[in-house]
């Protein structure tokens, strides 16, 4: 089975698993305990915090471990606006954010906050000028993702952060997809809060982190024993934290090679698909896109069918189609690009990792045209050339 769904989740790097093992079997102490096993766990947590901090050019005191990217997003948005409500009630975000942001914003609207959802262009780019038009002294926070999880478009976060700061707003970015794919420097990019998730870069699921710049005040979401400086109570997930530290350390050490490899595979896939499958299109930005993301749409076919046929041929991909098993409608991201609904239905995302190979890309390029052809032969839409 060839796995091209690494934007959904990744395999745990065997080296990460090895690093985690002792913290299940031997060094399983609670880091809050004073005995040696507890201290051993705490030391490991501190070391991992430093590794995460180093990867984004922050201080380890600015890294809060969470239960995942969604929790980090919630902590940033809810935590900041509730703690700073006296200063304003306005939030700016975009129409293409992950639902961890969008659904939190909807909740905050019900709590009396005003939210501006910025549009994007046909490639999924947010125009910083639109941020400039929307931001006011009432704006508490601007939250724009570093890179989109569906179409892979990389957003101009630095330019947006400067605009936010000019009006006294803080800048949050959901960097769940971009960490380890795009060099990230929270100082240079003027980022105040940044969310990440371990399982997107070969650490396990159930662990994430929020970078919280020194001086930025937030209200906790979880109260209890006061762990994570009182910002996120709950006994720390030490194996997950160790795994995250190891995974990000490996990714940073191997960054250039990994990114170059993924870029080569991505470009070969995009070029191959567009040149061998007629009426196929690339969604997202042609150049400002994640090194591991290829997002296509095929006229006259439906995404779920494409996904299952490819699965039967040994490829795991994803789709933004309405008929994907657990979605309630076509992708809000594709909709924000201005695509027609019939165009959105034929979408397919292939997201790569450093563990994929060029041979897998070539095999995909052999299989994909016949799969699309088979569906088009069945499709009344394709003959009619309606789409």
């Amino acid at each position: 089975m060839t796995y091209f769904d690494n934007s959904a989740t990744t395999n745990v790097d065997p080296r990460v698993l090895e690093a985690m093992k002792p913290f299940f079997l031997e060094r399983y102490g609670n880091p809050s305990s004073l005995h040696s096993l507890g201290r051993s766990a705490e030391e490991a947590m501190t070391a991992s915090r430093e590794k995460v901090a180093r990867a984004i050019n922050s201080n380890s005191s600015e890294v809060v471990f969470t239960g995942g990217g969604t929790e980090a997003d919630n902590m940033a948005l809810q935590g900041y606006v509730f703690a700073n409500r006296k200063r304003g009630n306005h939030i700016i975000t975009t129409r293409i954010e992950h639902h961890a942001i969008l659904n939190t914003c909807e909740f905050l609207e019900r709590e009396g906050f005003r939210v501006t959802y910025l549009p994007v262009d046909e490639f999924g780019l947010v125009d910083p000028e639109k941020v400039k038009e929307a931001v006011t002294r009432e704006t508490l926070i601007v939250s724009v993702m570093a890179a989109n999880n569906e179409i892979g478009t990389i957003e101009p976060v630095r330019a947006i952060a400067e605009i936010a700061h000019d009006k006294g707003a803080v800048m949050h970015t959901d960097a769940v997809q971009s960490i380890t794919k795009v060099r990230t420097d929270v100082v240079k990019e003027h980022i105040d809060m940044l969310s990440m998730s371990g399982h997107k870069f070969h650490a396990p699921k159930g662990i994430g982190a929020l970078y919280l710049k020194t001086g930025v005040k937030i209200r906790p979401l979880v109260y209890g024993g006061g762990q994570e400086r009182g910002l996120r109570s709950s006994t720390e997930n030490i194996p997950g934290i160790v795994g995250t530290g190891k995974a990000i350390e490996l990714s940073m050490a191997e960054f250039d090679d990994d990114v170059q490899k993924m870029t080569r595979m991505r470009d070969r896939m995009i070029k191959g698909v567009l040149s061998t499958i007629s009426d196929s299109h690339l969604n997202g930005h042609p150049t400002e896109r994640l090194c591991n993301n290829a997002h296509f749409r095929f006229d006259g076919v439906e995404g779920e069918s494409l996904l299952i046929y490819l699965d039967q041929q040994g490829f795991c991909v994803s789709t933004g189609s309405a008929c994907s098993s657990r979605s309630t409608g076509p992708s809000h991201v594709l909709s924000a690009l201005g695509l027609q609904r019939e165009q959105m239905h034929g979408s397919l995302r292939a997201s790569l990792s450093k563990f994929n190979t060029m041979e897998e890309i070539d095999r995909f390029l052999e299989v994909a045209p016949s799969v699309v052809k088979k569906l088009r032969e069945m499709s009344p839409m394709y003959d009619a050339k309606v789409c």
Partner: protein, 148 residues
Amino acid sequence: MGYSRKVLEHFTNPRNVGEIPDADGVGKVGNPADGDLVHIYIKVKDDVLDDVKFKTMGCAAAIATSSKVTEMAKGMTLMQALQLTREDVANALDGLPPGKMECSNLGADALHMAIREYLIKEGREAEAPAAIDERGDQCVVGAPIRPH
């Protein structure tokens, strides 16, 4: 995905795919904007469905139910085919996931429309089933869990 083996078998190896160029009736249901469009073509001989074919753009459920309905309807009299329901087709496929029953199980509807067109052409409007309104359903399946 929650699809039965029979659904996946019909989806993988759909029967009776194609158009009948000189069809006696054509039924077209669904809406490409909603992701499912089913066309059923019939050839009638002595009030019996001599040939039934389909073309479908849609999810696995839409393709499998289209395939199954053509297989079931072939050889039936028009009146027998008009008794075929969505439930009959779904049951013959060992069921469909929740939600797919409504939004993607359009084969029986398209078959009935094809028969209606034929009966009207033959001047037998009284025997024709009522027209099916354009469906505007969206696929709503399960909880809206969205991975990054």
